[in-house]
């Protein structure tokens, strides 16, 4: 016996049952001689009589009495053989006969089929090495029957007989099937069976073995996939009803048997309701779980409850920092690293929205990361990376965000890779990919964006749990794109879709569209409402953006001085929360206001001091273009240009402005933002004329004319916007 064969034995013993074809193939791969011997023996037994099998058992003990044999009593093979003999000896005559029949069927079903090594779930596996002896005597290749089935029958009847996966599975096959499907559901849903097919398989399995509790749980998971509240609740409760039974029998494996599963039953029910958005129900179930856990002093369960409690509080929008902190402390005390770091991550998230300093947050994340690597909590590592990505993006550091997202996507998971599938459908991946898409969209790389979104669509199909993330992301990108290109009529229908996914975001976008369509009054009332709402829920980012939009509305009515306090307030908020991109945006607005109020020197100064640098480094292409356009306008104003071309201009500054405008034009061109491009060309023509460069002036003028004709809408007299 060589090494390869020894290695083969363990998987054969512990793995799922194989069909004869698969079995022979694996044996043949490592030792053709043994395979031949096995084949011969099986042939002899299957084509002979009952006595041949009896002889096999009678003959077998000899090698294992010999001391130096590989099959000695205490070896792996020896132990297995002893088990087998014991089981065989216990059989009554009719059972022995049945075993023999199953063996024959097993053998013949292989040879009855032309192709061996068939994939899929073989309906019958009964081997003489089958330990738990759960040989279903049903045969798939019941040959007599097959021939008779030629007669035309109803379609449904035919289906019932010919489907290969029909018929009962053996215990091991069923377990393997469940484990595999559950694993796939967790890690890569697309590779699992389709919901309907899986449901059918499970029903079939439960029909033959109603006591198989795990099948109910898988059923629950499967119904969650299709958002079926009734079936999932039903399956979950059924699973726990079953579990309570098994837990009671084996009291050895846990403290006080089934009380434990009761607590977790209630907890799971809470999570179910939470998933479906029934927060009140979830709360009630959670209270129940907490009460039972308290009564039985189960701190571990209590911890789980606590982390659900703060999650629930968070989803309801109330402040749960204190709860979370408590949870982290207790979890650390009871040595539950998973819950502890989950709590910390939740705290970080809350801290980020509440304006905690960046280094504190990053420190906390770094500390937990050390913990994660120590305990190999790969899921949390992923979350942590995704969170870092989000935080960097919130702060407006797109390069860092990009880097973190790439890090997550390129990291190979610590989880063992089973069934050839790596875990890549967690929320963390979805978040990172969405950020990636938005970052690319900001740079105007729409080809890459559509590729990323395509991948997201495949990885997280629309019915799955995290699909809303990419849906919102997709809509936002489309919206921005249409707004930049000035196609407001295309942006408008998107607002409804966005509102369905996120109400606040939807309202904000609506205000933007209304503003662009010059329906200022409506836009203003929406913005006011939104501001009140967001101040209550502490969505600082939205508050600042709302303030900026309100300021823009003030500009339209030439209320530049009224816009100023608003903008300063926004700036203070942005700085306080370290939201760099929003801060730069605010400064941009401020500078524009100053320009309009007639202090271009001040505006230029502000721009150079605090805005241009971060925008060019981290900002979106649109922001870059706008910043440069504004700079050029300030430069022109400082140089002393008047719209009607009067007065003497400072030529040195004018040359600078020409360069700036050229750069801005490049950015706008990339985004296909024609309105702003038109402005740029207009200004360019003016500059060139005053510099006496007639040909360039004419070229710019022509470009302006072309765009103006294409756009059809009349340009505002002096560009009144950023």
């Amino acid at each position: 016996m060589d090494r390869a064969l020894n290695k083969l034995i363990l998987p054969l013993q512990q793995g799922p049952d194989l069909s004869l074809g698969q079995f022979l193939k694996t044996v043949e791969e490592c030792c053709p001689q043994t395979a031949y011997a096995v084949k011969l023996k099986l042939h002899e037994m299957a084509n002979g009589e009952l006595k041949d099998m009896e002889y096999f058992f009678y003959d077998l003990p000899n090698p294992y009495i010999a001391f130096d044999s590989e099959a000695y009593k205490t070896s792996v093979v020896g132990l297995f053989m002893r088990h087998m003999f014991l089981a065989y000896d216990k059989l009554s005559f009719s059972q022995v006969y049945k075993l023999y029949k199953s063996l024959q069927q097993y053998y013949h079903s292989h040879y009855a089929k032309p192709s061996d090594g068939q994939v899929g779930l073989p309906a019958l596996v009964a081997d003489d090495s089958d330990m738990d002896l759960t040989n279903p005597e049903d045969a798939v290749g019941d040959r007599i029957d097959k021939e008779e089935l030629d007669t035309p029958l109803h379609e449904s009847e035919l289906r019932n007989d010919n489907a290969p996966s029909r018929g009962p599975l053996s215990q091991k096959q069923a377990e393997y099937f469940l484990a595999r499907q559950a694993y796939l559901l967790k890690n890569d849903e697309n590779k699992a069976l389709k919901p309907a097919a899986l449901q059918e398989e499970l029903n079939n399995m439960l029909k033959f073995n109603p006591d198989f509790a795990e099948a109910h749980y898988l059923n629950y998971l499967n119904s969650m996939r299709v958002q079926d509240i009734f079936l999932s609740a039903h399956s979950l409760l059924h699973y726990f009803d079953r579990l309570i039974l098994s837990g009671n029998e084996g009291k050895s494996n846990g403290d006080e048997g089934y009380g434990r599963s009761l607590r977790y039953a209630a907890l799971n029910l809470a999570s179910l309701h939470c998933r479906f958005g029934h927060y009140q129900q979830a709360d009630l179930a959670l209270q129940e779980a907490i009460r039972i856990a308290q009564e039985s002093n189960d701190h571990v369960c209590l911890q789980h409850c606590l982390s659900w409690l703060y999650t629930l509080e968070q989803t309801r929008g109330s402040d749960s920092t204190v709860l979370t902190e408590d949870s982290v402390k207790m979890a650390a005390h009871f040595c539950l690293p998973y819950l502890a770091s989950l709590g910390i991550q939740s705290l970080v998230q809350q801290g980020a929205t509440q304006g905690k300093t960046a280094h504190k947050l990053m420190d906390a994340l770094k500390d937990t990361d050390i913990l994660h690597w120590k305990h190999s909590l790969s899921e949390l590592i992923e979350i942590s990376l995704a969170q870092t990505t989000s935080i960097w993006r919130m702060y407006g550091k797109s390069t860092m965000a990009l880097q973190q997202a790439q890090l997550l996507l390129n990291m190979s998971s610590l989880e063992p890779v089973n069934f050839g599938v790596q875990q890549n459908n967690t929320e963390a991946f979805a978040v990172a990919l969405c950020h990636l898409a938005e970052l690319h969209a900001e740079q105007g790389l729409y080809g890459a964006v559509s590729e990323i979104l395509q991948h997201l669509k495949e990885q997280f199909p629309p019915h799955s749990q995290h699909a809303k993330l990419w849906m919102l992301c997709d809509l936002k990108i489309q919206f921005e794109r249409h707004m930049n290109e000035g196609k407001y009529h295309l942006a408008e229908p998107l607002v409804t879709a966005i509102s369905a996914l996120n109400k606040t975001e939807g309202l904000y976008r609506k205000a933007q569209v209304l503003k662009a369509l010059n329906r200022s009054t409506e836009a203003y009332s929406i913005l006011q409402r939104l501001q009140v709402h967001c101040e209550k829920t502490k969505c600082t980012e939205v508050v600042i953006r709302v303030m900026l939009s309100t300021a823009e509305l003030h500009w339209e009515s030439s209320g530049f001085s009224t816009a100023l306090p608003l903008l300063l307030q926004a700036l203070a908020l942005a700085r306080q929360h370290h939201l760099q991109s929003l801060a730069s945006e605010t400064i941009l607005h401020l500078a524009f206001t100053q320009l309009m109020l007639g202090v271009p020197e001040q505006a230029l100064c502000v721009l150079h001091e605090a805005c241009i640098e971060p925008v060019l480094a981290h900002g979106a292409v649109m922001d870059k273009g706008r910043a440069l356009l504004l700079t050029a306008r300030c430069q022109m104003a400082v140089a002393g240009f008047r719209p009607n071309g009067q007065g003497q201009a400072d030529l040195r500054l004018a040359v600078l402005a020409v360069d700036t405008l050229k750069e801005a034009a490049a950015y706008f061109f990339r985004l296909n933002c024609k309105e702003r491009l038109r402005d740029v060309h207009y200004l360019q023509a003016q500059l060139h004329r005053s510099l006496g460069q007639t040909s360039q002036c004419n070229k710019s003028a022509m470009l302006f004319r072309l765009l103006d004709q294409e756009l059809q809408s009349p340009a505002p007299p002096v560009s009144m916007r950023l």
Partner: protein
């Protein structure tokens, strides 16, 4: 199952029928019974078919001796319809018998539930060929239907059964099989059934199954009027129907009548014992149990009766043992699973109870008692939210049963969901509260929430309810209600009413002191305002305070 033998036990002999068509019915019955007999459904054989006569006689004898394979072997070449049916039927029964034997010595625990009748598929293939060729008669069609049902091809089975019924309307076995496959009233209405007198029996049976008791009773009543008044079958069915709507006295009377007419009857006696159990009639139950044991102690019904008997005597272990025995005799016996669950509940063995109830639900998803039992189990485990789901299920199945509603209300109350609780209690009262508890609970809930008008109104309705039903209930809390009402009237300065209530309070031990105290308070107040009432100590004819009070707004707490 052997529904084939359940040819309806109608009064065949000794009854004079009044109508012409009844004579017809009788003739038909006699002929169909002989047909059934020939096919092994009863144990005689008339010699008609000369062709296959020898083989048929031989095979029939083997068949009677339960040697099915042997019977099938000798019938193989025969071509008459009768022989063919017997041939197929023996093969079917042989398969069933083998299946039962297999279950006993299976190779492993997980094989349970995987044992199948191997003959079914072959039978189906052969029968379907003949079916397409149109060569099947009523009996073979019936057999084909049974085979299809066993293979879980329910849709096809329904079609074939309907066909079988059309071919041979008087074969009650086919009707019964069909009734097992009909799940709702829409489906029942969509079936095209032959217009035969037996259809009325079927419809009545279906109505009972689908919990449409009123319609069922009507049907049975009209059947009785048509001349089937002495049929024990109808009497037992009516009794079961009354049992289902919890009209216990009616049902008991009918069962007693049934036992007089048919003293050795075992069918339906488990239902009878349930009734006796509910009424707590120990001697009657004991007598019934003894009687049944003498007739046949290895019947499911007998075991259930004995189980009930032990349960009533609070010997729950023994009761559970007998229910287990009943289940061994017939694992698909729904009632026994549920009753066993109840016993385990009594023994505080919640996990075993859950198991039993789950089994019951597996057998029949529409068993409201099992759902209710599961709810109760979780309630005992102090999981009020968890048990809501089960109570809701039970309520769905019996929307007009107050017990589920009260249970739901209690759970909601425990979860401090007072609004829902109030709705449940009020609804429970509206559908006719059996235990008379809903109003009291509702009143207490209002009391807790300081809604004194509503509380008083509920207490009043409660008192009315208790007095109108006549009999004394053990848990009645009339005194509580009176006490509250007294205080309520006193606060609202309705002294006449208050004093009436206080006086009534004095009739009850636990409220006597308070009643007297209230009376003293009232007389003090009255002395102060110096308007002594003459009729203060007037004799109390009935619960007058209820009529005098200003009508309170009932609508406010209707859901």
């Amino acid at each position: 199952i052997k529904p084939e033998t359940e040819v309806m036990s109608l009064p065949v002999g000794g009854t004079t029928f009044e109508f012409g068509d009844l004579v017809q019915i009788k003739k038909q019955l006699i002929s169909v019974i002989s047909l059934c007999k020939e096919r092994g459904l009863l144990h005689t054989l008339t010699l008609e078919d000369a062709q296959d006569l020898d083989a048929l006689t031989l095979a029939k004898s083997y068949f009677d001796l339960k040697e099915y394979d042997r019977a099938a072997y000798f019938l193989k070449g025969c071509c008459s319809q009768k022989a063919y049916f017997l041939y197929m039927y023996s093969r079917y029964l042989s398969g069933e018998k083998k299946k039962d034997d297999e279950t006993v010595d299976s190779l492993g625990p997980l094989e349970k539930g995987q044992v199948r009748n191997e003959a079914l598929r072959e039978l189906r293939v052969e029968l379907s060929k003949k079916h397409i060729a149109g060569e099947l008669d009523g009996f073979t069609l019936y057999l084909y239907g049974v085979v299809l049902r066993k293979l879980d091809l329910l849709k096809e089975a329904v079609e074939v059964f309907v066909e079988a019924i059309h071919a041979l309307p008087l074969h009650w076995g086919a009707w019964l099989e069909l009734s097992n496959l009909v799940t709702n009233i829409e489906m029942l209405k969509s079936l095209s059934l032959p217009d035969c007198w037996i259809k009325d029996f079927f419809m009545a049976h279906m109505y009972t199954e689908l919990q449409m008791i009123k319609e069922a009773l009507q049907k049975y009543q009209s059947l009785i009027e048509a001349g089937f008044s002495k049929s024990t079958y109808i009497i037992s069915q009516i009794a079961v129907a009354y049992h289902n709507i919890r009209d216990i006295d009616q049902a008991l009377a009918l069962f007693n009548q049934l036992r007089e007419q048919d003293p050795y009857r075992i069918d339906n006696m488990d239902t009878f014992s349930n009734l006796l159990y509910v009424k707590g009639m120990k001697p009657n139950l004991s007598y019934l149990a003894h009687n049944l044991v003498e007739i046949d102690k290895y019947r499911v019904e007998t075991c259930c009766v004995i189980g009930n008997y032990y349960s009533l005597r609070s010997q729950h272990e023994k009761a559970a043992l007998y229910f287990q025995r009943a289940l061994k005799l017939n694992p698909r016996c729904l009632g026994a699973w549920t009753l066993m669950g109840h016993e385990y509940m009594e023994m505080k063995n919640t996990s075993a109870a859950i198991q039993a109830y789950r089994h019951a639900i597996e057998v029949n998803k529409r068993d409201y008692r099992a759902w209710y039992g599961l709810g109760q189990t979780y309630e005992i485990l102090k999981m009020p939210f968890y048990c809501l789901y089960y109570y809701r299920k039970a309520h769905q199945l019996r929307p007009n049963d107050s017990r589920m509603l009260v249970a739901l209300g209690e759970s909601y109350e425990k979860l401090s969901q007072q609004v829902e609780a109030k709705k449940c209690y009020w609804r429970a009262y509206s559908v006719g509260d059996v235990e008379k508890m809903a109003l009291l609970k509702l009143a207490k809930l209002h009391e807790q929430l300081n809604e004194s008008d509503d509380a008083a109104q509920c207490y009043m309705l409660y008192i009315q309810d208790i007095f109108s039903c006549g009999e004394q209930l053990e848990h009645a809390e009339v005194s509580t209600a009176l006490r509250y009402l007294g205080q309520y009237y006193f606060k609202n300065k309705l002294y006449d009413e208050a004093s009436l209530c206080a006086q009534r309070c004095c009739d009850y031990n636990d409220a006597r002191e308070e009643g007297k105290a209230l009376l003293r308070q009232i007389s003090q107040v009255r002395d102060q305002i110096e308007t002594p009432s003459a009729d203060l100590f007037a004799p109390l004819s009935n619960n007058t305070p209820v009529r005098r009070v200003s009508p309170l707004n009932l609508i406010s707490f209707t859901p």
